[in-house]
Each structure stands twice: as C-alpha cells, then as structure tokens.
C-alpha cells in the first residue's frame, strides 16, 4: 500500500514548481522582504518592490496592465469580489445577473447568495458538449442585466468557452463580463487587450504557485468599479484590504512568469500526453465515454465515464493514482457532479466518471501506469457486479 502515488489531479491543485518555491523561501528568509509592504521604512519599501514586480509578472501573462491586477487570497475570493463587488456597486443600474450551471462552486455559491440578497440570476445550461455559446448568453440578456459570469475553462471536463465571442455580445450591450480563468491561465493564451472581458479571476495554486493566493483583473479602460468584500486599511487600491503575504505574491508572480515562458511547449506536450491517456483508457475499457467537447478543450484535463461500475469504488480501487470524481471542491459531499448532470449524463454515469488532470511534471510512464491500473480495476469491479 505504500507505493508512490501517481498524481493526476493537477486541476485540483498543482505542486509548487521548485523554481517558485525557491523564490518564496528566499523571500521568507535571506532577502529580508518580510516587512509589511505598507510600512514606510526600508524593509517595507523592499517588500513593496517585490510585490509590484509580481504584479507585473501576473499582468504580463494575460496582457493586462499591472495596475489592473488586485491580489486576493485565491480564486474563490476573486470570484466573490468580482461578482458581489460588481453586483452591489452597479445595483442602481439593475439587479439581474447571468451565469451558468457549470461554473465553479465559488461562482455558483456567490450567485446563490446574491439571489438571497434580492438579485435575480439566470442560470444558463451548457450544450451537449458542455459549452456555453455566445448566442445563449445574448438571448438571456435583459435591460437590467449588470453582469455576466462565465468560466473560461471548465474545471471538471476541461472544455473551453468562447469568451471572445461572449465578450463581444456583452460589450455591445454594455453589460460587464466576469470570467473565472483559474483553470485556463497559463494553459490557454489570454490577451485581455483584445478580449472584451472586464473582470477575470486567477489562482496561484492551479499554476504551480502557492495555495492561498490569487488575483482579480479589474479593467481600467473602460473603468470597472467594485464594492470591496473586505474593508480596512485600503490596500490594493481600496479593493482588497488586509496585509499582503509578500512570499505568496512573489510565488504567484514567478509562477505566472514561468507559465508565460513555457506555455507554448507545455501545451503541446500536455496535449500529446492527454491524447495518449485517452487512447490508452479507451483501449483498456472500450465502454469508456469521453465527457465534454472532443476538441474544444484545455490541454491538461480528461473526464471519462466508466459505465457499469460504481464511482467511489473505482476511485478507491485506483488508490495508487490520485484523481478526482467531479471537482475536488465538491468531492467531499459525494453528490453526482452537477456539470456532468448538466451534460445529460445520468446519475450512474456521472457517478462513475473520473477526472484525470495532467500537468508539468507528468511523465509517459505515469500515464501508462494509470491506464494499466484503471483498466485492471475497472474489469475487476465489473466482474464483481451483478448483471444489470
């Protein structure tokens, strides 16, 4: 039981890149950037410099200006800040929001909270491939719509939404667009200079950076304003109060910098590995079904339904590989995935679906071993099960 775990759960969280960890450790120790960046003295100024450099690094990956990046404690906070912040700030203009049923819990729960606070939310359904089409967004727009929130890449099935198309629709109608890019930054090219996106959430730990740090892009031109989620101290242009963790920010900056340098080669490598994984699984388990659009997908995520067996058992039987059923943030409650249900998979197929997500440190050997284990355990469990 003590064999090495094969980690294929990069979409839940990524290991910190050693180059990132080195920068962070340095920041925590020798370089003395430990001081409070809000302090006036020399250590404070040094910490501030490190924070601003990281801000530029994050901005550079996504074609933003450094001044448009607000650091937060993570993508969940970014989503909360973007959606609650915009909804409250612009509530005089209207109290209607549009989002989709396949968003991350951070967006779903935030919108549900706003419903309780008296806002109206339209919940878009994805098409059979798991995509939210711009035309569907357009049809849902109303005169009192203030914000649309649609994710870039779905965390469970890896499909990529056409946010350029959605942005054209919302911009033309003068409605703000928020995009959760926690799963896409560093994997899919993003250029906020050309995209009509007003708010975009990022995560550190989905891109080989530390946990507990994220960022929100807040467009300056045309200017977007927000009611802050947290008050006191007025850090981050008043949009996010609280002493910033310099080492965390530095880690995120370095992670985004590395992603910018390595994105093209890395995407190519991961696409090939993902294809290898899918071909292997399909050969081992011919009954296996791919969840989500076959081509419009991010490089690292593969979601597969395994008919005829129970999901938790498969997950545990494959204990040597770390994967997820549904997204990690929902796996604790063991509900059949809402995303897969939205795609039209029944409870049983949704329940026996597994998300494999590969990343920077995944090897050919690991993919082959995973295929072997899943194939073997699938057939073992299938043999154990009664006919039906």
């Amino acid at each position: 039981m003590k064999q090495e775990t094969i980690y294929l759960d990069y979409a839940a969280t990524t290991p910190v890149d050693p180059r990132v960890a080195e920068k962070m450790a340095c920041c925590l120790t020798c370089e003395g950037t430990f001081a409070n960046p809000a302090s006036a003295h020399a250590p404070g100024r040094k910490a501030r410099g490190a924070v601003e450099r990281a801000r530029s690094q994050v901005a550079a990956l996504v074609g933003a200006e450094p001044g448009e990046i607000v650091f937060t404690s993570g993508a969940t906070e970014s989503d909360n800040l973007a959606i609650k912040g915009a909804a409250h700030f612009y509530s005089d203009k209207g109290r209607h929001l549009i989002t989709s049923r396949i968003e991350h819990k951070a967006v779903l729960d935030t919108c549900k909270q706003l419903e309780r606070d008296g806002f109206e939310v339209t919940w878009l359904k994805p098409d059979a491939d798991g995509l939210i089409q711009p035309s569907v967004v357009e049809q849902a727009l109303r005169p009192d719509t203030v914000l649309v929130s649609i994710m870039h890449v779905n965390n469970e099935i890896g499909t990529v939404n056409d946010i350029a198309g959605i942005g054209r629709v919302t911009r033309e109608r003068g409605v703000l667009l928020h995009v959760d890019a926690a799963q896409s930054a560093g994997k899919v090219p993003i250029d906020l200079k050309t995209l009509c996106v007003d708010l975009m959430s990022f995560s550190g730990h989905k891109l080989y950076g530390p946990k507990g740090i994220g960022a929100l892009y807040v467009r300056r031109e045309p200017r977007v304003q927000l009611d802050p989620l947290m008050h006191g101290g007025g850090h981050e242009h008043g949009m996010r109060s609280g002493t910033l963790a310099t080492h965390q920010i530095v880690g995120m900056g370095e992670a985004f910098e590395l992603a910018r340098q390595e994105l093209p080669q890395e995407a190519k490598k991961l696409n090939a590995l993902r294809e290898k994984l899918w071909r292997g699984l399909h050969a081992a388990v011919p009954q296996a079904l791919l969840n989500g659009h076959p081509t419009q997908r991010v490089c690292g995520i593969l979601n597969v339904a395994f008919p005829g067996i129970e999901g938790e058992s498969l997950l545990f039987a494959c204990g040597a590989i770390a994967v997820s059923s549904g997204s990690a943030c929902t796996s604790a409650d063991q509900q059949p995935s809402f995303v897969l249900r939205a795609l039209g998979r029944d409870d049983q197929l949704a329940g026996s679906s597994i998300r494999f997500s590969i990343g920077r440190f995944t090897t050919d050997d690991e993919v082959e071993a995973a295929v072997r284990v899943v194939g073997q355990e699938y057939h073992r469990l299938l043999d154990l099960a009664p006919a039906g």
Binding site: S313, D346, Q348, L384, A385, P386, A387, G388
Partner: protein, 142 residues
C-alpha cells in the same frame, strides 16, 4: 467527513480482495439467493447461500455493485456466515458489523442493503424447503 477516508485496514483489505465473490455454478445444490438495492440508487447486492440438509450454511457467494464499504461488507458477511446455522444468518446484523468497523453513518445504507439481500435469501429457503430445490431465480431492478 470524507466517505472512505476513514476505511480501516480490515475494510480496505476486503475491498481490495473480496472473499467468496461470484456465483455458484447453476447445478450446485442447496443454493438459495436473495437480492436487494438497485444500481440507480448506487448499490445492488445479490447474495447466495449454500445450505446443507442439516441447515448449515456451507458456503456463500455474492455479486455487488457499490461503494467500497458495500463490497467489503459483502465479503466480511460471507466469511461470518460460512459454517454457521442458517438461523444465525437470518439474525446476522450487517449494520452492527458496519458500526464495529467504524463506518460513518452514511454507510449504514450499505449495510442495510447487504443485510436485506442475505435475509431475502434466507426467506427463500424457508419458503421453499426442502432445500434441495435448485437455484432460485431472483428478481432485481436494474
């Protein structure tokens, strides 16, 4: 908090290598079977008991669709019932077994399904004595 994360080594071992799994050959004598649960509800169990003329359970087989706890409970129950009198099988509490193993409350449903399948098999025996009757066809939702 995390179903499964607290499975102890005993549960784990039975899940990894279930004992007595499968079905008896069609021509095996003294076999009664019972079923409970449904796939669409997440767990389904078919349990077979082989009973001799003296009313002793000489062997068990089962087929199971479900979570690791359901599989392990089938395996452990089959071990426990083997060699005992059928009247004990009728009273055997899989729910108590689950509690002894420290399974979380949500897994009680798994124990109930396994228990129901065993009791259904015992009922077949009682309704169809003499026991030499061939394999009893069971009905199952699927």
């Amino acid at each position: 908090m995390f179903p499964g994360s607290e499975y102890n080594t005993e549960v784990w071992s039975h899940f990894r290598a279930p004992r007595n799994s499968g079905v008896f050959p069609a021509d095996a004598s003294g076999v009664v079977a019972g079923a409970a649960g449904a796939r669409k509800h997440g767990r389904a169990v078919e349990f077979q008991l082989q009973v001799n003329a003296a009313g002793t359970v000489v062997d068990c087989r089962y087929r199971v669709f479900g979570c690791p706890a359901t599989i392990a409970l089938c395996s452990m129950a089959s071990e426990a019932l083997k060699g005992g009198p059928l009247c004990d099988a009728a009273r055997y509490s899989v729910v108590q077994l689950a509690d002894r193993l420290g399974l979380v409350a949500e897994k009680r449903a798994a124990a109930i399904v396994v228990e129901d399948a065993i009791r259904a098999a015992v009922r077949r025996y009682n309704n169809n004595s003499p026991p030499q009757l061939a394999v009893v066809k069971f009905t199952m939702e699927s």
